[in-house]
Symmetry: C2
Subunit: 229 residues, 2 copies
């Protein structure tokens, strides 16, 4: 099988939520994981970890936590309504496949949990006072940039799955019950989860992903100037 | 030019920090941006924005903010020392190319700033009490998952740049002076920056990215069981 082109993979890696229960061969899964770790991370620290949940009982328990979180998230979605850039029909389809997943997550043959070890800053005493002061002012900094060390790997997983004929997507609902997930997976205290990805052979098809046009989201040099390209 | 394969791109998209000042053709940059927006985002909301900073004076100012932040980050790196999985030599090279970038960021022909509109939860009154209570307990939830809606796009940028012969990498130091960056780029209050990516034709070469082995970072079903694959 010829390798899929990069841009073709990006343009057709639709989020597929209806998955078959068929098992995924070990070497295929290894290729997905090997793609994940080729991603960059801050200072190349690779403080990531990936838990491949394949055991049916572990999947069932993880699915139950996810289901519970879905009730919370469902209430948020309901209160928020349809985003303006989606048609009624697109929104209905998103909600329908979303709620399918809420009830069937555990049926995917693999639930992949992407984790990251919390970044620890050096003790204040080891830093010059000006540095301490700036970090104190910018507490959000560490948390906001953490994603830069795990979601690139997650995107590599999505693209590798697409190339290997596997459906997947990022889900984050489970973070609402992070402590229960950590207990179930025996995660160390300083390891946090960032994505729960059901992976399996899709019932549906890959297809073009449609998006808002560049003209709406790209700016040139400053916000007030739209990108002319 | 035949399209580069997905896995080849992932395996060779080394972080290249020494870039030539040569301009990037408009249509090449458009292809990079078009790759960015093919990424997934939570609920397909696409609350992202990308500022292409090409104007020399804007680049100079952004570079000056970045340089100031580098003094903070340099102190953190110095206090923290070499990660155990890197050799002395690898660490010295990382520090050297890092400090090159600190002083030469503005020379890249494009500085791409990836932004995300802050997620706003519905007002508490619109949510059932149990949902309110859970969100109150999990304040980190919104911030931690925000990266899932922007860093996949950032990884697509890295891979598209690789395919098009452009060097780039994620930098986040500037977040330490987020307010100054927002003022310079005229960003709305509710838009936050997540990455500052210098993009240009590289002086160095793409090459294999080396990483810690899967056996060190992948677990099966639970933390205590290493992945046998």
């Amino acid at each position: 099988m010829a390798e899929i082109g990069l841009f073709e993979a990006m343009h057709s890696a639709r989020a597929l939520r209806r998955l078959k229960p068929d098992p995924i061969p070990e070497e295929v899964l290894a290729k997905v994981l090997d793609a994940a770790i080729r991603a960059p991370s801050a200072g190349n620290r690779q403080n990531w970890a990936f838990v491949v949940v394949r055991d049916p009982e572990q999947r069932r328990r993880l699915g139950a936590i996810y289901r519970k979180a879905a009730d919370i998230v469902g209430a948020i979605y309901a209160a928020r309504g349809r985003p303006s850039h989606m048609s009624e029909d697109e929104y209905r389809r998103l909600m329908s496949s979303g709620s399918h997943l809420w009830n069937h997550l555990a049926e995917a043959p693999v639930l992949l949990v992407a984790c990251l070890r919390r970044e620890v800053l050096p003790p204040a005493a080891a830093l010059p006072p000006a540095v301490q002061a700036r970090l104190e002012d910018e507490r959000e900094y560490v948390m906001r940039r953490a994603g830069a060390s795990i979601y690139p790997a997650v995107q590599n997983i999505i693209l590798a799955c697409r190339a290997l004929g596997l459906g997947t997507l990022i889900t984050t609902n489970h973070m609402l019950y992070e402590d229960e997930v950590k207990a179930l997976l025996e995660l160390p205290d300083d390891v946090q989860t960032y994505a729960l990805m059901p992976i399996g052979y899709p019932q549906g098809r890959f297809g073009p992903v449609t998006r808002r046009p560049l003209s709406e989201v790209v700016h040139l040099d400053r916000w007030s100037v739209p990108w002319p390209g």
